[in-house]
């Protein structure tokens, strides 16, 4: 197979426009969080008794962690399906995952109403193993640790810790296996979280197979995010796009996506829930929007010729990410209504402050990605490709 090429720091200045914008957003986020912790959740969020979960849960955690599945999806391709030539994609994907997940974990703390008790979730005398959220919390915590271990050779390389790196690499295969299992567990469980909400969730998204749908879509989103990030990183750093890797990977992505779509619609037909998609309602509109986003990649990059166009790969990545956002927003917010039988009139739309915090979290990710890729060996050394 093709030799894989060592990674190298990109180098360059750390002070530039994107870094400044990120810093401003992070400062704004910190100001809002200060108010939130002094005066409570009600002071900055639009959360209410009908919508106890807003974008800090649904976007920062549920969607954020799905977007951070690039590392999981690519590592599975390379190490489990033994597709070694995708190796140059592992480090950048893992880096994005690392921050996505770490920040999802931190983001939870902002949203917890009684955050000083957060350790109870991992404490045997308090933990409730029957709770889906308990399983999600344990697996995400474990996965964050596993990912830092998986990524640590990067720092060891940069700091010249050769002996430690060799020792770690002898056991790395186990952490890679664990790093494949844990996302399978909690990405599916993020979907299972809907099950206990029962009929409050619209039948278009409330299904016994929701764990499988969330797992498959997370894998697809993982590849979509890698397409998106590779294109963005290539244009920002004026590097060549790794087309020889992205093309076949896009094909694999379409394969998993096709399986997802078959199961998604098979389930709707078997349960007889498709009728809900034909009613003139907001839920139906968003269902078709979600479906359109998941179907779009087949039109955008369905042929080998189309997959040779980087712009199309980028668009396909965006469409998948959009579909992933919608699948999750639809289940947890748009298709969720606690006012059964009677319209209680509960509405939720995130406040500006909530959005700034979510943006600030995203800014931390971008900032960290820039600093680390410029200073540590993450991206493949330029000129080594093909």
């Amino acid at each position: 197979m093709s030799a894989h090429h060592p990674a190298a720091p990109v180098g360059g200045k750390l002070f530039n426009l994107p870094v400044m914008i990120c810093s401003v957003l992070i400062a704004a986020m910190l100001a809002i969080l200060f108010v939130r912790f002094i005066f409570g959740l009600g002071a900055v969020t639009n959360l209410n008794d009908g919508y106890p979960w807003g974008i800090w849960v649904v976007f920062d955690v549920v969607i954020g962690s799905a977007f951070a599945c690039g590392g999981f999806s690519v590592a599975m391709l390379v190490y489990i399906f033994n597709r070694g030539h995708y190796h140059p994609l592992v480090r950048p994907a893992l880096l994005a995952s690392l921050f996505g997940y770490t920040l999802a974990g931190v983001g939870v703390l902002f949203d917890l109403g009684r955050w000083w008790n957060f350790w109870h979730i991992l404490w045997p005398t308090y933990a409730n193993p029957n709770s889906v959220m308990f399983e999600v919390a344990v697996c995400i915590s474990a996965y964050v640790m596993v990912m830092w271990i998986e990524f640590s050779p990067v720092f060891m390389e940069q700091w010249g810790l050769k002996v430690q790196k060799q020792k770690l690499e002898k056991v790395l295969f186990f952490f890679i296996a664990l790093g494949t299992l844990l996302p399978m567990m909690h990405q599916s469980s993020l979907g299972t979280m809907l099950v206990v909400m029962g009929p409050q969730v619209n039948p278009l998204w409330q299904t016994p197979i929701v764990p499988l749908l969330y797992l498959l879509s997370a894998i697809v989103i993982g590849y979509g995010v890698v397409l998106f990030e590779s294109c963005v990183a290539a244009s920002a750093y004026r590097r060549q796009i790794e087309m020889h890797l992205l093309q076949p990977m896009a094909k694999i992505m379409l394969g998993v996506l096709a399986v997802f779509m078959l199961i998604r619609f098979g389930d709707l037909v078997v349960r007889g829930a498709l009728g809900h998609a034909l009613s003139p309602s907001l839920e139906a509109f968003f269902f078709w929007l979600e479906t359109a986003c998941f179907a779009a990649p087949f039109l955008i990059v369905g042929t080998p010729g189309a997959r040779r166009n980087p712009a199309r790969l980028f668009l396909a990545g965006c469409a998948i990410m959009m579909g992933g956002i919608l699948l999750r927003i639809n289940g947890f917010l748009i298709g969720y209504d606690t006012g059964l039988g009677v319209d209680h009139g509960w509405n939720y739309f995130p406040s500006i402050a909530e959005m700034i915090v979510t943006l600030g979290m995203f800014a931390i990710e971008v900032l960290a990605y820039i600093v680390i890729t410029r200073r540590f060996p993450v991206l493949a050394r330029e000129g080594a490709a093909h």
Partner: protein, 340 residues
């Protein structure tokens, strides 16, 4: 070389995860739980309710809750719905001319909104830190703020919209009816039933309350019958057992039988609830959800136990993945860049 065989082995490991589907589900299925035999609860009869809100005020006092002001003058407690500070509320259904009480058409009706104390509560299943618990004897669903992390999964999970978070405080708690369990020791039962002037809200063992509800449904609308108030004594209750509770037992009076729908709400919903309801107006129209006999907690935990029962599946998948990864992981060697 990455061969076809390696690829197939990868598929095998990945496929192990998908094998969950073929596991016999019955082995891990979790049935809907049933009410504990001595479980306590309430019977709310909408046809007896006069909407006086005495129970709302008593609940506020019993739970030390502040008034909630929504009117122009902050002179009286005007909660718009149950909340983190209001655990009980009487709501009103209105239709057309509102002439006739307990009539769906051109009438009005009341409905009590408070915790149903489910046999198989969604909030207890959802809570990751066991701060929502169901008492094995009384069946009361209780909340422990010292355990709670404030994740509000219970709020999202409850189909009745009962647990609610106090957003107005940096140390907000979840607020919900706990059937006045903090007053049971002193011989006081639920404050709402204690003060109800018409016996519309009645306290007792759910088993006895269910029998009383069915007795009322069997009567002819309009005929006179004796209606108990306060606490319904258990069938064959000994004087010792009766002495546990303060207040007179025999507060019954003569009332006319309502024009009931032939359904005791809470008998079967989600495996049953310990708070039961009678109404002459469609239950969905007075704000109660139409729930199947199977609880969502059972569905959720069946999925979890199927996948993670005894951690057998995850360990098996991990073993497969480890075996495959060990073959495929090649050390990143700077000077020897090569993948065999």
């Amino acid at each position: 070389m990455a061969t076809r065989r390696d690829f197939l082995k990868g598929c095998l490991a990945g496929g192990a995860a998908a094998a969950t589907a073929v596991l016999p589900e019955t082995a891990c299925a979790r049935d809907t739980l049933v009410r504990p035999p001595e479980g306590l609860g309430l019977l709310y009869d909408a046809t007896l309710c006069v909407g006086c809100q005495a129970c709302v005020a008593a609940c506020k006092r019993a739970n030390d809750n502040p008034a909630e002001f929504t009117a122009m003058d902050n002179l009286w407690d005007t909660p718009l719905d149950t909340s983190g500070h209001t655990f009980n509320l009487i709501k009103m259904y209105r239709n057309g001319t509102m002439e006739t009480k307990d009539s769906e058409l051109n009438g009005f009706s009341f409905m009590k909104t408070s915790c149903m104390h489910c046999a198989d509560p969604s909030c207890v299943s959802a809570c990751p830190v066991s701060s929502m618990q169901k008492d094995p004897v009384t069946g009361v669903v209780s909340y422990d703020p010292d355990a709670c992390i404030g994740c509000r999964y219970c709020v999202a999970a409850c189909p009745f919209g009962i647990p609610k978070y106090q957003y107005d405080s940096p140390t907000g708690k979840i607020g919900k009816c706990e059937l006045c369990r903090h007053r049971h020791e002193d011989g006081h039962y639920s404050a709402c039933a204690e003060v109800c002037p018409t016996g519309a809200t009645l306290f007792g063992r759910t088993e006895d309350l269910l029998a009383e509800a069915k007795r009322r449904l069997a009567l002819k609308p309009g005929e006179w019958t004796t209606v108990p108030r306060g606490r319904l004594p258990a069938t064959g209750e000994t004087p010792e057992a009766a002495a546990k509770w303060k207040g007179p037992v025999d507060q019954g009076y003569q009332a006319q039988v309502g024009n009931y729908l032939q359904h005791v709400y809470g008998e079967t919903e989600y495996g049953g609830t310990q708070v039961l309801k009678l109404s002459a107006v469609n239950f969905q129209k007075v704000g109660l959800p139409d729930l199947p006999p199977k609880s969502s907690a059972a569905s959720s935990e069946t999925i979890q136990h199927t996948l993670y029962g005894g951690m057998i599946m995850p360990i098996a998948v991990l073993a497969g993945l480890t075996w495959v990864a060990k073959r495929n992981v090649v050390p990143d060697d700077d000077d020897k860049g090569g993948q065999s």
